[in-house]
Amino acid sequence: MQLSRRNALALGLGGVAFAALPLPAMAAETVEELTAAFAGGATVGTGGVTLTAPEIAENGNTVPISVDAPGATAIMLLASGNPTPAVCTFNFGPAAGSQMASTRIRLAKTQDVIALARMADGSVVQASSTVKVTIGGCGG
């Protein structure tokens, strides 16, 4: 799997530069390992991060995902059902006007997409959303 195929194309919001760094492709890091590394020992809570994703993907190859975590210094996106769950991490500098980002990701199958946000005080929160990848065709 090539990193470029993950479509980790970040659309900057608010006009403030931030970095979207594809995670190092140390193959097959699990969601648990990635979460532990990101949290750095903090207990992962909920609330404070909003993940917006379609319930059913119109095209599993390019699924629009938005994350918003006011006050975050970094947000990590994981696709739990992909062969390589790591998608990308958005880092927000002190001058960032908002801590939100939109991107499109490729999903191999129906799975939970997870967003983890690290706040300035080091606390970590997460949100997840099930995105269904379907063969479709029989609605009406």
């Binding site: 917006t52 379609p54 319930e55 059913i56 119109e58 095209n59 629009p64 939109s102 129906t110 099930t130 269904k132 379907t134 063969i135 479709g136 065709g137 029989c138 609605g139 009406g140």
Partner: protein, 563 residues
Amino acid sequence: MISRRDFLQATVAASALWGASGVGNWSRLAAQQALTQDKLLEFDDYGNVTLIHITDIHAQMKPIWFREPEINLGVGAVNGQPPHVTGADFLKMFNIESGTPEAYALTYPDFEALARAYGRMGGLDRCATVIKAIRAARPDALLLDGGDTWQGSLTAQKTAGQDMVNVMNALKPDAMTSHWEFTLGIDRVTEIVEGLDFPFLGANIFDAEWNEPAYEPYKMFEVGGANVAVIGQAFPYLPIANPKWMFPNLSFGVREERMAEVVQEVRDNGADLVVVLSHNGFDVDRKMAGNVPGIDVILTGHTHDALPEPVMVGQTLLIASGSNGKFISRVDLDVQNGRMMGFKHKLIPIFSDVIEPDAEVAALIDAEREPFKAELEEVLGTTDSLLYRRGNFNGTWDDLICNALIDEHQADIALSPGFRWGPSLLPGDNITREDLHNATAMSYPAAYRSEMTGETLHTILEDVADNLFNPDPYYQQGGDMVRVGGMGYHIDVSKPQGSRITNMTMLKTGEAVDPAKSYVVAGWASVNEGTEGPAIWDLVEAWIRKQGAVTIDPNTSVQVTGA
């Protein structure tokens, strides 16, 4: 001859609005009354705002038979809740006596006998009479069309929806939303929409590339001294349930956060009443009503449910107005100081033998049909069986189509999509070309023949079953289960995706379907571009002509548990 009965209106005093259960008293006060046009239209004007809702007409300009579903399961929290109530349970829930016109209009039992007694329903010329009568009482009433209007008949197919556009224009809608409209192709939709005198609303339709709104989200109307915002919500799963290549640059989705934003926007702009004209499907609307604050009324569509009383979610009214022109809902509202203070609602059944056709619209319908008259009226055969489609698992119309697919394509297994449109025919009726097209007319009709392994077939059934039985409504697409010929199966609707479907069996031999073996499969309405095969209506017409008289055996090939 029509028996002398009437539907009574559900009147709820303003003081009883909040907390009303929404069910149980529809016909409690029903006395034996004459089934007359005056009685069907009787309505003491209430409040200051009137909404008229019609939806899912599926291009049915003339009166039709339409048998309501026998099986319409709800999973999870909505099990046993309207609209997942059918037959005797439905009659009991709404206090309707069996054998009455209400029972005929709203449920399936004794359908054939009651159909013969009470006649066909619908007809846009009759709908025009009702709409004009309401407007005579309430000149600023809003007529709102929930979509699935331009598809579903031979004439709509041949004119790319123009016949329906012309007839609907004569009814003067104030707004519409959409679903099957887009299967005419984006260029045709754009051409029609540019010529409409009313907005084509869709708050959840976005440009797929830039993720920006692609259609007007709402329209504000001044009605009875109140600002009424009508927000459109198109079918969320168009690019999944229908061919995406026909409208490649559009994205849909439930987009709950978008709906919340638009509701806030219209409130900020001074809306006293917020109405969502929706093609979400009933369960999706019910969830949305609970999650998005500030919506007063959702005019539901897509799932073809007809409910004689509103369902209330918190302080939001959900109105379900049926399909195929069978019903029109009138909703009168008292809107004061930015609040809905009370409502009065009536689901008006369009008994075609009782309601006088509007002469102007009747003439327009005839003019639209005239060029196709001989084609429409040609008799292909007769049916000895009741032909209907609606229901979660199978219907005799699809059994007929599956039989034709298996014979004409020499297939082991046939698949027919679980569409909810398609009127019924009574035993002894001729099957005309119009009737066949009413059950099949659409823009991707190729009847394919291909090979699939047992494993692939299982995956398809599981996928479609999850579209119908996922306990979270936002993951439901609103069709019925794909209909299968030549193969039986067992489904436990309570299980998760991947483990609902078991015991797939070839009906002819009684052998279990082998996951590794290839089977010849015939089907139609594939969403894939470039699907090859004759149009389904040509294939079925050839088959019906060979049969002469069609008989459909009772179908017990699907065993259902977990409901």
